[in-house]
Amino acid sequence: MPGRRCDSPLKNPSRAYIALGLEGSANKLGAGVIKHDVDGSTEVLSNVRHTYITPPGEGFLPRDTARHHREWALTVIKDAVVKANITMHDLDCICYTKGPGMGAPLQSVALVARTLSLLYEKPLVGVNHCVGHIEMGRQVTGARNPVVLYVSGGNTQVIAYSRQCYRIFGETLDIAVGNCLDRFARVINLSNDPSPGYSIEQEAKKGKRLVPLPYTTKGMDVSLSGILTSIEAYTSDRRYRAQGEPCEESEDIIRPADLCFSLQETVFSMLVEITERAMAHIGSKEVLIVGGVGCNERLQEMMGIMAQERGGLVFATDERFCIDNGIMIAQAGLLSYRMGFQTPLAKSTCTQRFRTDEVHVAWRP
């Protein structure tokens, strides 16, 4: 049968559409306004974020994070609307993160979304956080049908699109990669500002010594909890020097920088490997990295080498879009809204568990 090119089910709109997106599934509160124009173009009108930062050595707890989101919601949303140079009445819909994520922060943002929806009589669109990342990544980079590596504090997935579904080819069997990095950053007391992952990345640049760690890929899945246990154990090794002052090459010591370096090299190798396996499996040459860990330049570099060897390309975004934000929720939400999807008020709940492959991707052929 001759292969017929399917037309996109998403037609150019007859008028410009504008959506507000609200995100708060973890410690970032984001609001963004997006515009889909009649010529099919997409424009980011504003993208505002406020991050709940905890002192070094401390993680963020759901209750405190939810309080942060409540306290900042109005400021952030107002800022987004002003920067977009619109009023609330110009919106076509209000998009919010339905899940997955932490319960309390999700609920606090959903509550704001519901209130705004009632106040301004705007329809609600509940959005899957992961799909938000993917759609924004595709929009920003122009990648057409990439294998997606989604790496963040709560998720680690290798995803590929097939028949109106983002199928998960591989994922973590225990903790997420961002979680693994963040927790280790806390163990060695690195700063949470701007993010623990960023601190690890900077520290790793000074590392030289590669310490042996478990390498646990299983088909297209990875397991990371054993690596975390193992790298933590090095901090009580007698060769470990917490101060990490520069040393002679020959000296048999392990510095925090060496551990950050080893952790990144090992974990990122595993991620690149399962991504490549998925690419080989479906015969794709493009890879898109999304999620907070996706801004890590070493990960992008390694993925680039792999893609290049396969004669392909890697697409990545910078921190504006990689790290959780409101605009990605607006983007994914507006796409499904244009396909006729809305979330009735009575069903505008959130859920901590919401798999990427549960979403009907109606807007793609």
């Binding site: 299983k218 088909g219 190798s269 490997e273 919401f354 798999r355």
Partner: protein
């Protein structure tokens, strides 16, 4: 030219002279000959036979994105792991290719060359055969006098061309039975294949053995979950590669069940669970 060639490590030279069979994401597969025999002269009595015995080389090439020392140690581990899984299978009576050469420095595993066809090629939907329309297929059958691609391999006796359908299905059943038995033997030895597909099993031409191949993702496990997932992966592979293959796979499971005996029940229960949830567990965001 010749001197620069001979300065290369032996296994690299061997790869250079070998025929590339396929190129995967992590390894390249070659067909090669480990030694050469004199074309004439002394003591070549059984040389003609030996010379014609090729090996399959699996070359795990460098991954440049990986730190070199991590890459080297991983390659070493994986080659060792694959060889050990094969050895464990061999000792447990699972039909797998024998090992012929190992060079961990160069990342090469040499195994017995299996002359035959993959199960994928033998079943409908797996080969290019399905692109030929049915009329042509029947013509071809009359010409060759052999209706049954599997029967050719001695899995069932070939009778008459007129019994096309019945004959065909009986040899398919025999094949499915063999698959179930081999997987059961492997699981009884607590080996999980990790990548069971109809491409990773072959019917050997001379002896009609069913040979399980490609243990690159194999590991040791006693867990019911791992065995159930192994079966589920194969079930999915059947479904996605061979249309209307439910009766085929249930034949595989029947044979597996018989062989596993009382160990079957917990695996069956878990397999039902896995079917419901898919290969993946449900995760918190």
């Amino acid at each position: 030219m010749l001197s620069s060639l001979s300065s290369k490590p032996p296994t690299q030279q061997l790869l250079q002279s070998a025929d590339l069979v396929s190129q995967g994401a992590e390894a390249a597969i070659y067909k090669a000959y480990l030694r050469q025999f004199p074309t004439s002269g002394h003591g070549v009595d059984d040389a003609a036979f030996e010379a014609s015995e090729p090996v399959l080389l699996k070359h795990r090439f460098h991954k440049h994105y990986r730190h070199p020392s991590l890459d080297a140690s991983l390659t070493r581990q994986r080659i060792a792991g694959e060889a050990r899984a094969l050895m464990r299978c061999m000792r447990s009576g699972v039909t797998v290719p024998g090992i012929r050469m190992v060079d961990v420095n160069e990342g090469v595993l040499g195994i017995e060359w299996i002359d035959g066809k993959s199960v994928r090629q033998l079943l409908p939907g797996g080969a290019e055969l399905d692109e030929i329309n049915e009329l042509e297929e029947v013509d071809e059958i009359h010409e060759n006098g052999a209706a049954d691609p599997i029967g050719d391999y001695g899995v069932s006796g070939g009778r008459t061309v007129h019994m096309l359908i019945g004959l065909y299905s009986s040899s398919v059943d025999a094949l499915m039975n063999m698959i179930g038995v081999e997987i059961a033997k492997m699981h009884l030895a607590d080996i999980i294949h990790g990548d069971l597909t109809t491409s990773n099993m072959m019917l050997r031409k001379q002896t009609s053995d069913l040979v399980l191949i490609d243990f690159g993702l194999a590991y040791h496990s006693t867990l019911v979950e791992d065995k159930a997932v192994d079966l589920y992966v194969l079930e999915r592979a059947f479904a996605s590669t061979h249309p209307d293959s439910e009766p085929l796979f249930s034949e595989v499971l029947n044979a597996y069940e018989k062989r596993m005996g009382k160990r079957w029940l917990p695996i069956k229960k878990r397999l039902d669970d896995v079917r419901l949830r898919g290969r993946k567990r449900s995760m918190v965001g």
